[in-house]
């Protein structure tokens, strides 16, 4: 049922591919899992509505195909709490795609608390795609504590691909050691009275560490969004950039708070934030092709969120 709901929401069918590692969780039930060599996953129910998932990629293993995780709550009401512990050992690499499905949510809470450790020389890509219903009845609380060792890299991409954001809270904090790179991207669209709250932080503590925090938000109606990006560079040659773009329409309101702290003369952090309505030249270019204002706005917003 979970996989069906995921597919109905627009997700790709990867769960029948024997080369693809996956795990499927509905509320606190592990509905299925399949592993590949070098990857260890241990998922168990720890309390009602609460599952602990431990993911370990063993040293030196490069997992070729993305690992798929499917989480969700199918009824209108319910709670799902996931305690995620991810460890990528040294010189390993993996890409994990988490698909979170809440198609019928009226009063659903989804909490994801993650501890992420990326070993020396390792690479981790994490994409979290959300598929929500149209009632806005989901509260998402995603909190991650991330540590990157020397020469490692992490890219996280958080996207709401379908439905209303609901009450959407992202709180990621990271510590980045020498020559390691972190890139955190959030792409969310909100409408009606959705509330989006994003907090992303990166502390570049090692020489040559890199951090890039990017948020792309499009809101309309009475939706509210606040993006708080904090980047601190405290080592020589540490460099970072904060980029926040928010498009607003109707009575929506947006706030961007980029904070950059530089604590070493050899470090550099830049930021840009742009909040406003849809760009007039873009809009009128598309309208001069025959699209009405709403269609043109959709093309621009989808482009921003897919780019």
């Amino acid at each position: 049922m979970m996989v069906d709901a995921y597919k109905e929401a627009g997700g790709k069918d990867v769960f029948s591919d024997s080369d693809v590692a996956h795990i499927v969780l509905e509320r606190d039930k592990v509905l299925g899992q399949h592993m590949v060599e070098g990857l260890e996953v241990d998922a168990k129910r720890v309390a009602e509505g609460n599952v602990a998932v431990k993911v370990r990629v063993r040293e030196g293993y490069k997992i070729e195909k993305p690992v798929h995780m499917c989480f969700g709550v199918l009824p209108k009401e319910g709670k799902q709490k996931i305690d995620m512990d991810i460890e990528i050992e040294d010189n390993a690499s993996v890409e994990i795609m988490s698909d979170c499905v809440f198609p019928n949510a009226i009063k659903v809470v989804h909490e994801m608390l993650a501890d992420i450790y990326i070993g020396k020389g390792s690479s981790y890509i994490y994409r979290e795609n959300h598929f929500h219903g149209e009632d806005g009845g989901v509260t998402v609380n995603a909190k991650s504590d991330i540590k990157l060792e020397e020469d490692s890299n992490l890219k996280t991409v958080f996207s709401l691909l379908k439905g209303r954001a609901g009450n959407f809270n992202v709180d990621y904090d990271s510590e980045v050691k020498a020559n390691a790179t972190i890139e955190m991207v959030s792409k969310i669209k909100g409408y009606v009275d959705d509330k989006i709250n994003i907090r992303e932080g990166a502390r570049l503590i090692g020489e040559g560490a890199r951090g890039f925090l990017e948020s792309k938000i499009a809101i309309q109606d009475e939706a509210v969004a606040e993006v708080y990006n904090e980047l601190t560079a405290s080592a020589n040659e540490a460099k970072g950039h904060v980029d926040c773009t928010e498009i607003i329409k109707d009575n929506a309101s947006a706030r961007a708070i980029p904070i950059v702290n530089v604590k070493h003369s050899g470090a550099k952090v830049t930021h840009e934030a742009a909040i406003g309505s849809v760009d007039s030249t873009q809009l009128q270019t598309l309208m001069a092709r025959g699209l009405n204002e709403e269609e043109a706005t959709d093309v621009i917003v989808e482009g921003l969120l897919n780019g």
Partner: protein, 253 residues
């Protein structure tokens, strides 16, 4: 009513308190290329935007007729669906929008079937290699010249009746210039009317009639070569509302 496709009648445009266009009249026939020539800031692009009906470019006075219909207050998208479209001097960047998607939009809005062959044909017409560009995004990774040619390709796909080209020749290389000239020639053959803003000698060879504009007023109309020479060698420059500088302030048809 004559054969004219587009007719501008005694049109004036004010933005804020500034007079941008004053008492402008001209007409363009099917398959005709009509050029506006003049110094920077004289109102050429404003005229283009007013024909297209862009936001803030609705005239205070006068009329815009298309195929005999008054379209003065018609929204931009409706004008586009009637067959009018515009290529910008500085085309927009679209983050996350592929060339393929961008080209398809004009067809989609007219419910015309989209095929790979059509998209490739349009790109080839503007000297863009389809296989290298169709899946790229129209963002900062493309130069202004590339975006300009892609925009022109999107216009070709719309098969419009009337095209507004705002300096299509600026910022493009010689090969691209030839392809743009060929596209304009094709417009003429297909009886598409063209309103062209240009400073290029090559483009002027394609022009049937021209007008010299200064301070938002047409000060001379007629043969494009004659207008161009006048602008280059005899025009004394524009001063606010000081038309005594121009010996030929009375319009010469």
């Amino acid at each position: 009513m004559n054969n004219e496709l587009l007719k501008i009648e005694n049109l004036s445009l004010k933005i804020g308190k500034t007079n941008i266009l004053q008492n402008i009249s001209f007409d363009i026939n099917p398959g005709e290329v009509y050029a506006f020539i003049g110094p920077n800031g004289c109102g050429k692009s404003s005229m283009a935007y007013t024909i297209m009906g862009l936001k803030n470019y609705i005239p205070d006075r006068g009329k815009v007729y298309f195929k005999g219909d008054d379209i003065t207050n018609m929204p931009v998208d409706e004008r586009a669906r009637k067959g009018i479209t515009l290529a910008w001097q500085e085309p927009a960047r679209f983050e996350g929008v592929s060339v393929r998607k961008f080209l398809s939009l004009g067809l989609q809005s007219r419910n015309v079937e989209i095929s790979e062959e059509k998209l490739e044909w349009a790109l080839n017409e503007v000297a863009i290699v389809p296989s290298k560009y169709l899946d790229r995004n129209i963002d900062d990774t493309l130069s202004g010249g590339e975006r300009k040619r892609i925009e022109l390709a999107s216009i070709l796909l719309m098969d419009p009746e009337f095209v507004i080209l705002d300096e299509p020749d600026s910022g493009v290389d010689v090969i691209a210039l030839n392809s743009i000239a060929n596209v304009i020639s094709d417009f003429k053959i297909n009886k598409t009317g063209v309103f062209l803003i240009t400073h290029s000698e090559e483009m002027l060879e394609l022009v049937d009639r021209a007008a010299l504009i200064c301070n938002g007023r047409i000060i001379k109309k007629g043969d494009p070569e004659e207008i161009s020479k006048y602008f280059k060698y005899e025009c004394l420059g524009c001063e606010d509302d000081d038309y005594t500088l121009h010996p030929e302030v009375n319009i010469v048809e």
